[in-house]
Amino acid sequence: MLKTADNFCRTAVLYFIFIWFGVMVFAPNLLVLLASFLTKEPVWFLRLPLNLQAYRALGDAALLTVILKSVGLAFVTTLFCLLIGYPFTYFIAGFSKETRALFLMLIVVPFWTNSLIRNYALIAVLSEDGLINAFLLHFGLIAEPLKLLNTTFAVFVGMVYTLLPFMILPIYAVLEKIDRSIVEAAADLGAGPFEVFYKIVIPLSFPGIVAGCIMVFLPALTLFYVSDILGGADVNVLGSIIRNKFMIDHDWPVGAAISVALTAFMLVLLHLYYKSGNTVEQERQLW
C-alpha cells in the first residue's frame, strides 16, 4: 500500500513538472516561434499568411549593427565578470568554512534588494554630480565633470555589477568541491603555485567557469532595464530592441524572429560546449 502511495506521488510530481514545462516553457516558445512566421497587423498585431518576412528584416544593416554591439557588450561583460569573479572566488574558497559563509552572505544579501533599485542607485554614483565625479573634482584630477551616465561604459558597469554573482556562485560551487588533497598532490609532485593553478585548479573548475559564463552572457544580452536606466537613449541591448519591436513598433513578427534567433544562438553555444569531449569528461567526474 505504501508502495502504491509512493508511486502515485512520484507520478503526480512528474506530471506536475511536465505540465509546468509545457505551459510555462514549451507553449510560450512555440507561440513566439509561430509569431515569427506571421505577418504584422496594426490592431490584432498578428495575421496570416505565414512567411519569412520577419527573418529577412534581421538582415537589415542598422539592426545587425545594434545586435553586434549588444553581443560585444555582453562578451566584454562576461569577460570582466570572469576576470573579477574567478580570482575573488578562488580567494574566498581558501578560507575556513565560517569565513566563506560570511563572504557568500555578503554576495547574496544585495540580491534581496531589487536589481532595478540597485541600478538606480548607480545613477548616484555615475552622474555628473555623482560620487565619482565629486571625488575626482575634489582632488583636482579633472577640471570638468566626466560624462559617465548615459554611455556604454555606464551600461557595462551596471551589467557587471548586476551579473557578477551569477559568475561567482557556479565557480564557487565547483571550487569548493575540489579535494584539497588533489591540490596538495600536485604540489607534492613538484608543481609550483602557478602550475597547480593552471594545470589542476583551472581545469577542475572549468565546468563552473562555463556555467558562470552562460549565466552572465545570456542576461547581458537581454537586460534592457540596465541599458534603459544607465545608457539612456544611446545604448541599446538586444533585449531593448526586442522590447521596442513588441511595445513601441508593434512589430511582433520581427520581435519574435529576433527572440528565436537569440534562442537558436544560445542552443548552438550549449551544444558546442557539451560536444567538446574533454569538458564532458570533466563534467562526469565532477557533477
Binding site: E184, A186, A187, D188, L189, G192, K199, Q285
Partner: protein
C-alpha cells in the same frame, strides 16, 4: 639491513600546534635510509600530521626536520625529495592514468620520449600498463591505489610517504596489497614512511614501528620488540591483545624477584628496564598465545604451583586456534589462545569447564605500576 643504518631523515624536538591544540609534542625520530618505518597509533594521535610535516604540507611550530644533514623544515612540498601516496589517492580526475603518472616528470621538464619510457616502466611495476588511457573514475579502488603508488615513486623520491593507503580496500585485497607493497619497497630500495592505525599491517610490513599516542612517540622498535617487549602499558594494549596482572614484590634476589599475583606466589626474572624493590607494585603482562591452559578433572584438588584456577566464561572458535576467556578465582578475565592439536583429544573445551591457567616461564613482560 645488515649494514649499519644510515640516518636519512631526522625529526628533532618537533612540536606542532593547531591553534591552541598541541598535536605533536617534542617528537624525536630518526628514519634510516632504505627502511620501512610505520607510524602506528589510534586516530588523532598525530601520525598523519607527522607525515604532513615531512611532506611539507604543514610547518612545525618548533623543532627541525633534517634530510641528509640539511634542514628542510621550511621548504615547500615541491622542493623536497619526498612524495606522498594519499589516503584517498588524490588522483587528478581530469587526467588519464598516463598523465597522472607523468605529472611529476613533466614538472621536472623531462623530454616527452623519456617520460613515456619511465611512465610505462612505472605502470608495469604496478601492473597497470594496459590501463594507461583510463580515467581514475574508470578504475577500481585497488587499481587507483596502484596508480597513486606509481605516480609517487616514478619521481625517485628519497622518502615515500604513505597515508593509510590500504584503508579503502576490502580485507582480502588489503592482505594482497600488503605483500605487494613490501615487495615493491624492497624492489625500489626507497625509504617508506607508512601511516596506519592497523597494528597487524604495521607488524607484517615494517622494518621498524613507531607507536604514537597523543602527539608523543611511545616506543620505536622492530615489530618483534614492539610486540614482545612493549615499553609501557599503552604500547602493550594498543598492539595486539594482552593480559594484565597486578603484582606486589615481596622479595628481591640477584637475578629474580618474588611476587604475589592473584594470591599465587611467583618467582620471576628481574626486568632489565627498571629496578624492582621490595613492596613495589608491578604489572605482569602476557600475550594470550603465551598462556598455558589445562583442564581440571577434579575441581576439589589444589591448583599446581604457578597456576591460576579459573572457569571458561566463553570461547571463540577461529579455525586454526581457539580463544578462551577464563574467569579466574581472583576475578580477572584472562584471554588464552590455544592451538589445536589433532592428536590431543583433550583440547575440546566447553563453557563452564574448570581449568588451570599458567604461562610459559620467562615470557612475561614486567612493567612498573605507574
Amino acid at each position: 639491513m645488515e649494514t649499519t643504518p644510515h640516518p636519512l631523515l631526522e625529526l628533532k624536538n618537533v612540536t606542532k600546534f593547531f591553534g591552541s591544540n598541541k598535536v605533536l609534542d617534542d617528537v624525536d625520530l630518526t628514519i634510516n635510509d632504505g627502511e620501512f618505518l610505520t607510524l602506528l597509533g589510534p586516530s588523532g594521535c598525530g601520525k598523519t600530521t607527522l607525515l604532513r610535516l615531512i611532506a611539507g604540507f604543514e610547518r612545525p611550530t618548533s623543532g627541525k626536520i633534517i634530510m641528509n644533514g640539511k634542514e628542510i623544515s621550511h621548504l615547500p612540498p615541491n622542493r623536497r625529495f619526498v612524495n606522498t601516496v594519499f589516503q584517498q589517492y588524490a588522483l587528478f580526475p581530469h587526467m588519464t592514468v598516463f598523465d597522472n603518472v607523468a605529472f611529476g616528470l613533466q614538472m621536472k621538464g623531462l623530454p616527452d620520449e623519456e617520460i613515456e619510457i619511465e611512465v610505462f616502466s612505472a605502470l608495469e611495476k604496478v601492473k597497470m600498463h594496459q590501463f594507461y588511457l583510463r580515467y581514475p573514475s574508470e578504475l577500481s579502488s585497488g587499481q587507483q591505489q596502484r596508480v597513486a603508488m606509481a605516480r609517487a615513486f616514478i619521481n625517485n623520491p628519497k622518502v615515500l610517504l604513505l597515508d593509510e593507503p590500504l584503508s579503502a580496500l576490502d580485507y582480502k585485497l588489503r592482505q594482497e596489497m600488503q605483500i605487494e607493497l613490501k615487495e615493491l619497497q624492497r624492489d625500489l630500495g626507497v625509504t617508506f614512511v607508512y601511516v596506519t592505525h592497523d597494528q597487524e599491517e604495521a607488524l607484517s610490513m615494517s622494518d621498524r614501528v613507531a607507536v604514537l599516542n597523543e602527539g608523543m612517540i611511545e616506543q620505536v622498535g622492530t615489530p618483534i620488540q614492539i610486540y614482545e617487549e612493549p615499553k609501557n602499558m599503552f604500547v602493550a594494549k594498543f598492539v595486539g591483545e594482552i593480559n594484565v596482572f597486578d603484582g606486589m614484590i615481596i622479595k628481591v634476589e640477584a637475578d629474580t624477584f618474588d611476587t604475589i599475583v592473584e594470591g599465587m606466589f611467583y618467582r620471576l626474572r628481574k626486568p632489565s628496564t627498571f629496578d624492582v624493590s621490595r613492596g613495589g607494585k608491578i604489572k605482569v603482562l602476557l600475550r594470550p598465545e603465551d598462556m598455558v591452559v589445562s583442564k581440571v578433572n577434579d575441581p576439589e584438588a589444589e591448583a599446581p604451583e604457578n597456576a591460576l584456577r579459573g572457569v571458561i566464561s566463553h570461547l571463540v572458535y577461529k579455525g586454526r586456534t581457539i580463544d578462551l576467556w577464563i574467569q579466574t578465582a581472583g576475578g580477572n578475565m584472562v584471554m588464552a589462545t590455544q592451538f589445536f592439536n589433532e592428536d590431543d583429544p583433550e583440547i575440546i573445551y566447553q563453557a563452564d569447564d574448570v581449568v588451570n591457567v599458567s604461562w610459559i616461564k620467562d615470557w612475561e613482560v614486567i612493567l612498573p605500576d605507574a
